[in-house]
C-alpha cells in the first residue's frame, strides 16, 4: 500500500510538471512565431521600398567580381560544413549548419538589382531551411540536405561572384549523381566521407 501511494504521488508530480512545462513551451513558441512574422513583414516593406528606389540604377551597382562580405561568409560557412561531412563529423556539421543559418538570416540583398534580389531571396529562403535541418539531424539526413544546399550555394555564387576560385565537384554514385563546391581541386567526398573519400571528379572551375 505504501508503495502504491508513493507511485501515485510521483505520478501526480510528473503529470503536473509535464502539463506546466508544455504550457510554457507553447508560450515560447508563440512569441517566437510572432517575431518571425514581424521580421518577414519588415522584410517585405523593405523590399518594395528598395525596388522603387533602385529600379534604374541597381544594375550598374553590381560588379560580379566584388563579392559582398555576406556572400563570402556564407561560402566560408558552407565550406566548414562540407569539411565536417568529409570528416564524418555529425556534431561539427550541426554547429556549422547553425552558423550558416545565422549568417543566411542576416544576408543583405539590398546591393543587388531587383531581379537578382528576388532570386537571392528564393535561394536564401531555401538554403535557410536546409541549414536548419542540418543543424539538428543525424548525418545521413544532413547529407540529403547538403545536396540541395549545394545547388543553392552554387546558384548564389553565380549571382554574387567569388573572389577565390571554387571547384564544382561531382559524385556519380550518391543519389543519382550529386554536386558540391570545394576550395581545393583535390576531391574529398562529403557525401560518403571516409567510406569513399576520393570518389568523384572536378566538373567545373568557378572564378
Amino acid at each position: 500500500m505504501k508503495k502504491f501511494k508513493a507511485t501515485l504521488g510521483i505520478l501526480a508530480i510528473v503529470l503536473v510538471t509535464l502539463t506546466t512545462m508544455s504550457c510554457r513551451d507553447n508560450k515560447k513558441e508563440d512569441s517566437h512565431d510572432g517575431m518571425n512574422s514581424e521580421m518577414m513583414d519588415e522584410g517585405h516593406h523593405h523590399d518594395s521600398a528598395m525596388n522603387h528606389d533602385n529600379m534604374g540604377t541597381s544594375t550598374e551597382m553590381m560588379d560580379s567580381h566584388t563579392q559582398s562580405s555576406d556572400a563570402k561568409q556564407v561560402v566560408a560557412d558552407y565550406m566548414t560544413l562540407k569539411d565536417a561531412l568529409v570528416a564524418d563529423d555529425n556534431q561539427k556539421a550541426q554547429s556549422a549548419g547553425k552558423t550558416l543559418l545565422n549568417h543566411l538570416e542576416s544576408f543583405d540583398v539590398s546591393k543587388y538589382s531587383a531581379q537578382q534580389q528576388k532570386e537571392l531571396k528564393d535561394i536564401v529562403d531555401d538554403a535557410k531551411e536546409h541549414a536548419e535541418h542540418i543543424s539538428e539531424s543525424p548525418i545521413a539526413h544532413q547529407r540529403e540536405h547538403f545536396k540541395l544546399l549545394s545547388k543553392d550555394i552554387t546558384d548564389m555564387v553565380a549571382i554574387t561572384g567569388t573572389e577565390t576560385t571554387l571547384y564544382q565537384q561531382f559524385c556519380p554514385m550518391y543519389d543519382g549523381g550529386s554536386e558540391w563546391l570545394s576550395m581545393n581541386k583535390e576531391v574529398k567526398n562529403p557525401y560518403y566521407g571516409s567510406k569513399m573519400l576520393n570518389c568523384g571528379r572536378v566538373q567545373k572551375e568557378i572564378n
Partner: protein, 152 residues
C-alpha cells in the same frame, strides 16, 4: 501519509480541470485556397484521396480532429504537432513556394515517404488508415516524382 496523498490528488485534479480552460488554437478552415497543392496540380482522384487521408491533417490549414482532441493535455500535443507540420510543409500554400523550394519540398516528401518516416508513427498509431500500403506508396511516389520532374 494519507493526508499527503489526498493533497496531491486534489492538486492533480485541480490542475487537470484547470488546464481544460486554457484557450487553444484550432487548425480549421472552410476555405480551400487557390494556392493548394491539389487545386494547382489536379492529381488523379486516388492520389488526392491518399494525400488528404495521410498528410492533410498536419500539412494543411484544415485538420479533421479526432474526438479526444478537446481533452487537455492532448490538445496541446496535437497543436504542437500541427504547427510543426505546417511550418515544414503546408500543402495549402503550395503555389506560394518558389520553384526552388517546391523542388526541395518534393525531395523531402519523396525521401520521407520512401523511408516510411511519413506519415509518422505517432500519427499512424491512431490513424491506422493513414498508413500507405506498398502499392499506395508507389502511386504517391510516382506522382510526386512526376511533379518534381515537371519543375525542371
Amino acid at each position: 501519509m494519507k493526508k499527503i496523498l489526498r493533497i496531491i490528488s486534489i492538486i492533480l485534479l485541480i490542475a487537470l480541470v484547470g488546464i481544460q480552460f486554457v484557450p487553444t488554437e484550432r487548425n480549421q478552415s472552410d476555405i480551400e485556397p487557390k494556392t493548394d497543392f491539389l487545386l494547382v496540380n489536379n492529381p488523379p482522384k486516388n492520389v488526392s484521396a491518399l494525400l488528404r487521408e495521410s498528410c492533410y491533417d498536419c500539412h494543411s490549414n484544415n485538420t479533421d480532429y479526432p474526438w479526444y482532441n478537446k481533452v487537455q493535455p492532448i490538445t496541446w500535443f496535437l497543436e504542437h504537432h500541427i504547427k510543426e507540420g505546417k511550418s515544414e510543409l503546408n500543402f495549402n500554400e503550395w503555389s506560394n513556394y518558389s520553384d526552388r523550394r517546391k523542388n526541395s519540398k518534393l525531395k523531402s516528401i519523396i525521401n520521407q515517404i520512401k523511408d516510411a518516416e511519413m506519415p509518422p508513427a505517432s500519427y499512424t498509431l491512431i490513424h491506422r488508415e493513414a498508413i500507405f500500403s506498398n502499392s499506395e506508396k508507389e502511386v504517391v511516389l510516382d506522382y510526386m516524382k512526376r511533379i518534381r520532374d515537371s519543375l525542371k
